[in-house]
Symmetry: C2
Subunit: 356 residues, 2 copies
DNA sequence: AGCGAGTATGGTAGCGGTACCAATTTTATC
DNA sequence: GATAAAATTGGTACCGCTACCATACTCGCT
C-alpha cells in the first residue's frame, strides 16, 4: 500500500528535477556538485529543470548522505563591537546555503584555548574558523596544529605557510587612506598604533609610513603612540598626543575606529573642532564610525563576504588535509575607502604656518 | 555482500545507543524527544547508554526524517550595536542543539517587509523570530499576520494577545535603577526618552516616574527630553538638557546605553566630571557601556538566553498554530542591575544647594 | 474468565541526497 | 573496423533518524 508523502508542502526534490529533465537523480546530483563528467547538453537540460521547478537542494539530506564534512567550529574571543555580528551573518548565510553546521563557541584567549578546542573536536567539528583576534593567538594556533584540525584564519596581517587565510591588504589600505589625508594638505600627522600582538597593526603603520615617505615626510615629524584597539586605550594615546606642548598634528590616523572615536571625543573635550581643527581617520568601518559625530572617514572591510568565504574555504581545507595534497589557500578581499565627515582640509595657516 | 560503513569517524548513532541499552532505536528516539510512553527503567537504561557513548543526535538526519518544523527565519533591522551579535550567538547555539535551521535576513523596516517576508516563506521557513525594533514594526507584524506565519517577538514593551513574546520587565528595571540613584542622594533628574515607536521607551519612562513619585518628587522638577535610541539623538537631547541656564540635574537617566554614552561625552566636553559632577545611567548593558569611560551603570538584559528561548518558543508556536489550540506564550526573563562607575553620590552642596 | 482500552515496545519504510559500482555510450588506437 | 580506454549515465544501497502501524503486554471491568 502506497502512503502519501508526509510533507507535501516542501519544494521540489532531486527526483522531481530528474523526472522533468528526463534523466536520473544521480545526473542531477552531478550537475549540482561541480558538474564533472556530464555532457553539456544534459547539464543544460537539468539546469533548465532546476530553474523551472525552483529547486533548492536540501542541506540536511546533503550532509546526511554525503560524507562531506558538515560541522564547523567558529571560535570567537572579543572582536571589536559589531564585527562579530556581521561576521556571524555572513557565516550563517553561507552555511545554510551549503548545509554545513556551524557551532559557535567563545574562547578566552590564553589558558582555555585547549579546553575549548577539545570540546569542539569532541563535538565532531571537522574544521575551524578563526576571526580576529584569535586568528593570531599563538596558543590557539599551536593547539590547532597539535590537534591536526583544519582551520581558516580570517583577518591576519599576512599570509601563512601552513594555514588558510582570508584578509585584506592592510598596508595598501592604510597607504591609500594616508594619501587621502595628504591630498587634503595635511603634513603633520599623529598615528595611534593597534595591539602589538596583531600583525595588522604593523601593516597599517607601515602603509601609513610608506605613504609619508613617498610624500617626502620624515618619520621624525610624526607623533606615534601605542594603542590596543580599545576605546580606552585610544583615549589614553590621544591624551598623550594632544596634551603635548609641541606642534600639534593636523591629522590623526588611528589604527581602528574605536580608537578614532575616542580621539574625536577627547578632541571635542579639549575644545577642538573635527575636522576643522583636526582631521581624524579610523579603520574597519565598524558601526561606531557612523554612531559618533562626526562620522568617521575609514576603510571598509567586507566582513560578511569574508566570513562567507571562510565557510567555503574551511570545507576545502578539510578535504585538502584529508587528501594531504596542495597548500592552504591565501585569499585576499578588496577593501573600500570610505570618506565621511571626520576628515577635511588642513586648517588655514593663520597661526601655525604663518608663524613659521 | 556487506560494505563497510562509509564514515567510521563519526560518533555514535542511535542504533549504537539502542544496542548498548538493549532496546530498539525507536525507544531511544522516544527518550530523546520528550520521553512519552517509556517506562522509567527503560528510560534510565537508555540515558545511561547515551552518556556512556557520548551520543548526540544528528540534526541533519532529524530534520530530514521528521516532519517537525526546522526552518526559522530571523529578521533583523538595525538593533543597537552589539545586541545582534549576542542575539545571534544565543539563537545559533540553541538551533544547533535542537537541529533547527536558522535563516538570517535583513529587513529594512517599512516597504520591503512584505518582500523580505515572502522570500523567507518561499524558502520554507515555518516560523519567525523578531528582535527589536522589528518586534514592534506595525508593517512587519501586519504582514506576518496576513501570511499566517508563526512568530515570536523578542523585546517588546508589553505582552501581545496574538503573538508569543519574550521580554524583561522594563518598568520594574527602570524603577530599580532610579531607586539606585535616589539611594545615592540624587533629587534633580534628567531623562532622555527612547524612540516613540518602541513601547519599551514608555515602560522605562513610567518606571522612572513611578520611583520618583514614590520618593515624593514631582514630575515638574524633572527635565525630560526626547531621544531616539541613537548616539546622535542622545547627544542632541543632552545638549538641550545641559546647555540650559536653569538648575542642572545631578543625575541623567538615558533610556539606552548609546544615549547615555553620548551624554557622558557631551558632559566631558562641557567640563563636567562623571560621576563627580553628574551621574549618568543607561539601559541594556550594550558593549558600548564598558567601552566608554567611565563605564556605565545600566540594566543588563540576558539577550543570549532570550534568543535561545525564542528558538524554542517559535517551535512551540508553529505546533500551536498548526494544532489551532492554546494561546501564545508570554515569557518574562530576569534583568540585572549593573552598577559601574558612571553613577555616584550626589555632589556635595557646596554651590547649588548652599545657595538655596 | 473474557474482553476492550490503554500502555510499552518493535518493525518497516521512507525523508532527500550521495557513494559506489555496473551498464552504456562515446572516443581513441592500432 | 575491431577492440581497448575513457567518458557518461543509471541502479542500488545506504546516511541517521522518525512517522506510522503492528504487536505484546498490563490492567480494570462486566
Amino acid at each position: 500500500m502506497i502512503r502519501p508523502r508526509r510533507r507535501a508542502i516542501q519544494g521540489a526534490t532531486i527526483r522531481d528535477v530528474a523526472e522533468r529533465a528526463g534523466v536520473s537523480p544521480m545526473t542531477v546530483s552531478r550537475v549540482i556538485n561541480f558538474g564533472d563528467n556530464v555532457r553539456s547538453e544534459t547539464r543544460e537540460l537539468v539546469n533548465a529543470a532546476i530553474l523551472e521547478l525552483n529547486y533548492t537542494p536540501s542541506p540536511a539530506a546533503r550532509s546526511l548522505a554525503g560524507s562531506l564534512p558538515y560541522r564547523i567550529g567558529l571560535l570567537y574571543d572579543n572582536p571589536s563591537t559589531g564585527y562579530l555580528s556581521e561576521f556571524l551573518i555572513g557565516a550563517l548565510d553561507e552555511s545554510s546555503r551549503t548545509g554545513a553546521q556551524v557551532l559557535v563557541e567563545k574562547c578566552v584567549e590564553t589558558e582555555l584555548a585547549a579546553a575549548t578546542l577539545g570540546k569542539l573536536l569532541r563535538a565532531g567539528v571537522d574544521g575551524l574558523i578563526l576571526p580576529p583576534p584569535l586568528c593570531e593567538s599563538l596558543e590557539v594556533l599551536a593547539e590547532i596544529r597539535r590537534a591536526g584540525a583544519a582551520a581558516v584564519s580570517v583577518g591576519p596581517g599576512h599570509p601563512s605557510a601552513d594555514m588558510a587565510t582570508i584578509r585584506i591588504d592592510n598596508e595598501a589600505a592604510a597607504r591609500e587612506l594616508t594619501e587621502h589625508l595628504l591630498g587634503l594638505g595635511h603634513r603633520r600627522f599623529g598615528f595611534i598604533k593597534g595591539h602589538p600582538n596583531q600583525t595588522v597593526s604593523d601593516k597599517r603603520l607601515s602603509g601609513f609610513l610608506a605613504a609619508l615617505a613617498e610624500a617626502g615626510i620624515s618619520r621624525e615629524s610624526v607623533r606615534i603612540e601605542q594603542g590596543y584597539f580599545t576605546y580606552r586605550s585610544g583615549l589614553e594615546a590621544a591624551e598623550k598626543m594632544l596634551d603635548d606642548s609641541g606642534p600639534l598634528p593636523t591629522a590623526i590616523f588611528a589604527a581602528n575606529d574605536d580608537m578614532a572615536a575616542a580621539t574625536a571625543a577627547l578632541a571635542h573635550r579639549l575644545g577642538y573642532e573635527v575636522p576643522e581643527d583636526l582631521s581624524i581617520v579610523g579603520f574597519d568601518d565598524q558601526p561606531i564610525s557612523v554612531a559618533v559625530w562626526p562620522a568617521l572617514t575609514t576603510v571598509h572591510q567586507p566582513v560578511a563576504a569574508m566570513a562567507r568565504a571562510a565557510v567555503d574555504l574551511v570545507m576545502d581545507e578539510i578535504r585538502r588535509m584529508r587528501s594531504g595534497v596542495g597548500t592552504p589557500h591565501q585569499l585576499m578581499h578588496p577593501y573600500t575607502l570610505i570618506v565621511r565627515e571626520s576628515s577635511g582640509p588642513v586648517p588655514q595657516p593663520a597661526s601655525a604656518s604663518a608663524a613659521k
